[in-house]
């Protein structure tokens, strides 16, 4: 689950991690009025979306006066910001943050993650933070250093001091702040905490100028305090509706509606569709816990997409999601929709023949193939 910059900073501030003084605004008038609440010589206006890469996409603008702040806010609010990390249609800007623009001396990139191999908290750092870092680190990963960082102790303080000097922080290292950030990372089930830039002001204070937090969606059962954030995830209404029904659905640009169980088989199917010259309308992964009603909901969402011209059904039934369950789901969806898109089906594994019989009995306009590649070529043919 993604927190916006403003939400991220509010959470960090609770742990005494310093952040610039800032206010949230939902209109240009409000943005202008908020300037009075911030003691600043210069301001920065930042689009509040959950995806990163804003700086390079025009989502961060400096403004000298409150009226300039209002002008920048007016341009951003209501627009769709497309960054390297959003989908092609971008993410709508519903709020901006107005902050004090600080004079910065040292600029570093800092992040906390869980090390995939050891499971320990890993601190990442790079001597050069800021917007351009995005492109530079993509070219040269060696600029990013890492340290497995345990909880605050004399030993870990020494390790942290050495680490900080390796990224160019030679004196007055912000040890307390980084241990506080580590605590916030662990307490809140974060899977990613980025502070970029994490910077020293000309007054000598370290500040998280920008912050981005990803919470572990699987741990939300023990964090009711984040429940209200679940609705603002930069997901389309369709994608959110699917999630409620145990289906992972990602909207894509093409015209072949893809119904698949399992993420790996879903990726494999989409690869084959592209290889055959087609484009999927979506990525789909029916989770193992999905019922035929959940599946019906997912298929309905595809039938509702005007662009979709054919449904490609590729299922390998196993365990509790057998082929008949999926076939029932498709049949429900078709019985409730006026749009009878042709179905190209490849069913294998548990109850495959039974599934095919269900589709035929319910008069679904289905063509059945034995192999994945056979079904994919036919779907691409029907879609073009």
């Amino acid at each position: 689950m993604f927190l916006s910059e403003h939400q991220s900073k509010e959470l960090l501030a609770q742990y005494d991690v310093p952040v610039p003084s800032g206010r949230l605004a939902r209109s240009s008038e409000e943005a202008e009025a908020r300037c009075a609440e911030i003691s600043a010589r210069k301001y920065v206006v930042k689009a509040q979306i959950t995806a990163g890469g804003r700086g390079l996409a025009g989502g961060v603008k400096f403004a000298a006066t409150p009226s300039a702040v209002a002008e920048e806010a007016r341009k951003m609010l209501g627009s769709n910001l497309v960054t390297a990390q959003t989908s092609r249609s971008g993410e709508q800007v519903d709020a901006v943050s107005v902050e004090e623009a600080l004079e910065l001396e040292d600029n570093v990139f800092i992040a906390f993650v869980l090390d995939p191999s050891s499971g320990q908290v890993m601190l990442l750092g790079s001597a050069e933070g800021g917007v351009e870092f995005e492109q530079r680190s993509r070219m040269d990963p060696s600029t990013v250093k890492s340290l497995l960082l345990g909880p605050d102790s004399p030993e870990t303080r020494a390790e942290l001091t050495t680490f900080l000097s390796s990224i160019g922080i030679l004196r007055d290292g912000p040890l307390d702040i980084l241990f506080a950030a580590r605590q916030a990372f662990v307490d809140n089930d974060m899977v990613l905490l980025e502070m970029n830039p994490f910077a020293r002001t000309s007054a000598g204070n370290w500040v998280a100028v920008d912050a981005k937090i990803t919470l572990d969606g699987s741990a939300m059962f023990r964090h009711p305090e984040f429940e209200s954030l679940a609705d603002k995830q930069g997901l389309s209404a369709t994608e959110m509706e699917a999630q409620k029904n145990d289906i992972n659905l990602v909207r894509m640009e093409g015209n072949i509606g893809v119904v698949v169980n399992g993420a790996g088989l879903g990726l494999a199917t989409n690869d084959m569709v592209y290889d055959a010259g087609g484009t999927p309308a979506n990525f789909m992964d029916i989770r193992t816990t999905a019922t035929s009603f959940d599946i019906a909901k997912g298929v309905s969402l595809l039938l509702d997409q005007p662009k979709a011209r054919v449904i490609l059904l590729n299922v390998h039934g196993g365990g509790m999601t057998a082929c008949d369950t999926v076939a029932e789901g498709i049949s429900f969806a078709y019985s409730r929709s006026d749009r009878k898109l042709p179905v190209v089906a490849r069913l294998a594994g548990q109850n495959a023949e039974w599934g095919i019989r269900i589709l035929r009995d319910r008069k679904i306009p289905v063509e059945v193939f034995d192999t994945m590649s056979g079904a994919v070529s036919r779907a691409v043919e029907l879609a073009s």
Partner: protein, 292 residues
């Protein structure tokens, strides 16, 4: 032969009395697996599926001699269940539960470091040695005993590849689902080490996907160890939209969330035969058989 488990493996199930636990224990027993008991706190002394229930893993191991456990408990309790089994000294631990919190897995990994337990999963379809033992949630209709070892990050795709292999007369020694989560137990490298020493495994199939570092580590291991058995790899997600919400490039590069193209390139350079699509795996395996 097989890796991690065989027909002698004695299996207990943590969470056996739940709906999914009951279903998959029953299936595992019907497949001929040597299931010896279940763990359900508060129900020790009773029976379920005609097997004895115990309050703790330690108790179950002491009374049944179990050396493997299947964890099939709801996600909020799965981490705790895994730590319990690890601390009790179980040999092979399989966790099929999806959506285990990552910070819980951090605690599981800490427990693993002080043990000899081999953890498979979580979010894994489990492990299957056709004709010998099934610990997991995979279908078995298409599985046949044989000489192909499969290690995979994807459940449904494993079933697919396995079915295609069987249809072509290529049975399997063991299939291992290493699980789809970032933090998990054994990876491709551990599976490769075991397959190397297993006399009944003649060739290995790796089923990978975008993200993580499994494929990169496997490529390095194959190259460095002079791995002698033929390996075929399928890496899916070549056309998945890239960079979407995967965090900052700095984090991405440090965590090695590599693209399919990068992974394929490294594996190819390590001498692995690449199957372009799921339908090409069998042909790649057959190529080795002809060459031999």
């Amino acid at each position: 032969m097989s890796i991690f488990v065989n027909s002698d493996t004695k299996v207990i199930v943590q969470g056996m009395t739940g709906r999914a636990g009951t279903f998959y224990t029953d299936q595992g027993m019907r497949y001929g697996g040597n299931y010896v008991g279940g763990v359900r706190p508060g129900k020790g002394g009773r029976r379920h599926l005609d097997l004895p229930l115990f309050d703790t893993v330690q108790d179950a191991m002491a009374r049944t001699g179990a050396d493997a456990s299947l964890v099939i408990v709801p996600a909020p309790f799965a981490g705790e269940a895994m730590v319990e089994a690890i601390q009790a000294g179980i040999g092979t631990l399989v966790c099929v539960t999806e959506r285990v919190p990552q910070h819980d897995m951090a605690r599981v990994k800490a427990a693993l470091r002080q043990s000899n337990t081999m953890l498979i999963g979580p979010n894994s379809q489990g492990i299957l040695s056709p004709g010998q033992c099934k610990i997991g949630v995979m279908p078995t209709v298409d599985a046949r005993p044989g000489n192909i070892g499969i290690a995979s990050r994807s459940a449904s795709l494993t079933s697919e590849i396995l079915a295609q292999c069987s249809r072509a007369g290529l049975g399997q020694s063991t299939t291992v689902g290493v699980g789809g989560d970032t933090l998990h137990g054994v990876g491709f490298v551990e599976c490769l080490k075991r397959f190397k020493d297993d006399p009944d495994t003649e060739a290995v199939v790796l089923i990978g996907e975008i993200g993580g570092t499994e494929e990169e580590e496997a490529a390095a291991y194959i190259l460095d160890s002079g791995f002698s058995k033929p390996v075929v790899a399928l890496v899916v997600g070549r056309h998945a939209p890239q960079g979407r919400r995967m965090g900052h490039a700095g984090t991405v590069s440090a965590l090695g969330l590599g693209s399919a193209a990068e992974k394929i390139d490294l594996l190819r350079r390590a001498g692995v035969a690449i199957a372009d699509t799921a339908d090409d795996v069998v042909q790649a395996l057959a190529g080795f058989q002809k060459a031999a």
